[in-house]
């Protein structure tokens, strides 16, 4: 498997994205920001599913927990302080992932898929049934967080242009962080565990600790995406943690290509494109989406990132 991402293409894509708000298409600026948030979410799952080989179907739990953390911490009548709420939200998501990771990492394969799904559903019910976060109606975020340095306003997430650049910056930062992790000894160890867990254990690697670290980190990064999503939507409800969200983000990862970091970004964009495209044609957009998914599994097992490799391969 090729590990080094196509840096030149990615750099150009980032520049194109950075120039996009200059066109002044407010609707598309917001849509792109949303897609970039989902790209962060998908990359966090890529670390787990593609690198560590742990396919989780409950990843929306961490996304939702961070979103709720922001909204529950936010003051009612003035903007929240980003420097406090962002780390708190990410830490809350990572802490929850750590505790659940201790339990779910005792299982493998099909079990892991089902158990992560079930725990995510448990968190769904925490917010749905208890009075903690407004029940099934959710809570509104009255003021979007802002970042100040020494009293001077650095950026305000209520401003959609500021929000766009913060999301772009966050996506780039997460990409660079995960690319660095892939190249680090930690990343190589995770690769090894995906390929052959027994052998890594025999080599003396504390497999459980590495996997728990990956699970916690992935939870925290999903929390970053959830924090940004709560800022953009302006409200949270239990549906953020629903298993359809976990399914969709897994779909993005696989759509883009499992194991390729940039595949997760590609997958998030492809998913959004398909969703917007189908939704503009029919209210029942999930029907063509489902057909595309089924066709993808049957006919394109490597995801979108594999198309380039397939084209390059000479036909016999």
């Amino acid at each position: 498997m090729k590990h080094s991402p196509p840096w030149l293409l990615l750099g150009l894509a980032a520049l194109a994205l950075a120039a996009f708000p200059l066109l002044g298409q407010a609707f598309y600026v917001e849509l792109l920001a949303k897609v970039m948030i989902f790209a962060i979410f998908a990359m966090s799952l890529q670390l787990l599913a593609g690198v560590a080989g742990l396919v989780s179907l409950g990843h929306a739990a961490w996304f939702g927990i961070a979103a709720y953390t922001l909204v529950l911490m936010a003051p009612k009548y003035h903007p929240a302080n980003l420097w406090i709420t962002l780390p708190a939200a990410v830490l809350a998501a990572a802490a929850a992932a750590f505790v659940v990771g201790l339990l779910v990492l005792r299982t493998r394969g099909i079990y892991f898929i089902m158990v992560t799904l079930a725990f995510a559903q448990m968190f769904y019910f925490v917010f749905h049934d208890t009075g903690l976060g407004g029940g099934s109606d959710g809570v509104y975020l009255n003021f979007k967080p802002e970042a100040r340095i020494a009293g001077h306003l650095l950026f305000d997430l209520g401003n959609s242009t500021h929000f766009f650049y913060v999301s772009l910056g966050a996506m780039a930062a997460v990409f660079l962080l995960l690319a660095a992790i892939r190249r680090s000894p930690f990343g190589h160890a995770l690769d090894g565990m995906r390929a052959n867990e027994q052998r890594m254990r025999a080599l003396g690697f504390p497999v459980m600790r590495y996997q728990l670290a990956a699970f916690t980190l992935a939870g925290g990064l999903a929390g970053l995406a959830g924090y940004l999503a709560a800022c953009q939507f302006g409200f949270v409800n239990p549906e953020l943690l629903a298993w359809h969200e976990s399914g969709n983000v897994l779909l993005m990862v696989i759509l883009g290509g499992l194991g390729q970091l940039h595949g997760a970004i590609l997958g998030a964009f492809a998913f959004a494109l398909l969703q917007e495209g189908f939704a503009s044609v029919t209210r029942h957009w999930q029907l063509p989406m489902g057909v595309v998914i089924v066709a993808l599994v049957l006919f394109l097992p490597g995801g979108l990132a594999s198309i380039a490799a397939r084209l390059r391969r000479p036909r016999s």
């Binding site: 396919v55 779910v104 079930a118 749905h128 298993w243 779909l251 999930q286 998914i293 599994v297 049957l298």
Partner: protein, 288 residues
């Protein structure tokens, strides 16, 4: 809790657990024998419930609807296995998750196109609509006893088929070692096809039986799917008896959880699952 309330809640827990078993047993068989994780299993339950709704309007009889519904769901299962699932056996779990997730989207939208997104109720047969009075104010509906009865009869017939017949022997052989069973001349492909269709029919039957009690609504499939996953996780993959025990445990936990801790009712089942995972990561009857 007074004894009569306790009796009523126990019967409810039993009935809920048995219904869950009916749906989950198909899921665990498909896991155990074919190694396929099927997210669309909850959709079969949903389809069953909607079949009960549309067919009982068409035929005018609940039992006519159930009979016709079972035939249709077996045929549907055979077709689905032939067209899609048979291509998944040698793929990894991720492909299976993805394809069956796509199927859920398709089934839900087809359901929405065919019957809309409204909540419907299904009339139960007249002779089962009575209640047995227990005290002056409390009574127990006959239909729920009937459901439990059907589930018990089905569970017992499954036991007989799996443990006492040649077919059951082949199914057990397929579960414990697919290649070896094939090597000994068992037509695994055919066996798979029928086991799969049988699982679809069981889930659909669960939906049909539940329809008069729970009404018929769009999200019913995923609700049941996740509970079935919990059943399979607790019981151990592939173990039908584990599924029975786990389903009953969940039925009672959920029912009494709702009575004793109404604010946290949705959580009780998952707390149970977490506790059992800590104790036995491969489930009660699972092979580690």
């Amino acid at each position: 809790m007074d004894p009569v309330t306790f009796l009523i809640q126990s019967l409810n827990g039993l009935q809920y657990g048995l219904l869950l078993f009916l749906v989950a047993s198909g899921l665990t068989l498909v896991f155990g024998i074919m190694g396929v994780v099927n997210l669309a299993h909850g959709s079969f339950y949903m389809i069953g419930a909607y079949l009960a709704f549309s067919l009982s309007a068409l035929t005018g009889s609940f039992f006519g609807a159930v009979a016709l519904g079972i035939v249709l769901s077996v045929v549907f299962g055979l077709l689905l296995e032939w067209a899609l699932f048979s291509r998944l056996y040698h793929r990894d779990h991720l492909d299976q998750v993805l394809l069956t997730y796509g199927l859920i989207l398709i089934f839900e939208e087809l359901r929405s196109l065919a019957v809309g997104d409204d909540v419907h109720s299904v009339a139960m047969p007249d002779f089962l609509s009575a209640s047995i009075p227990l005290t002056d104010t409390l009574s127990y509906p006959v239909y729920r006893l009937f459901m439990s009865g059907i589930c018990i009869v089905l569970a017992m017939s499954m036991y007989v088929v799996i443990q006492r017949t040649r077919l059951g022997m082949r199914i057990r052989a397929g579960t414990s070692n697919r290649e070896m069973a094939q090597g000994l001349g068992i037509d695994i492909r055919l066996l798979f096809r029928f086991v799969f269709a049988f699982g679809v029919a069981l889930a659909a039957l669960g939906g049909m039986l539940a329809a008069p009690v729970s009404s018929v609504f769009p999200g019913m499939g995923s609700q049941v799917l996740i509970l079935c996953f919990v059943v399979v996780v607790i019981g151990g993959i592939g173990s039908v008896w584990g599924a029975l025990l786990a389903a009953l445990l969940i039925g009672f936990t959920d029912t009494f959880g709702k009575v004793l801790f109404p604010d946290y009712a949705g959580l009780s089942v998952y707390v149970l699952m977490a506790a059992i995972l800590l104790w036995r990561p491969a489930g009660l009857f699972g092979r580690a």
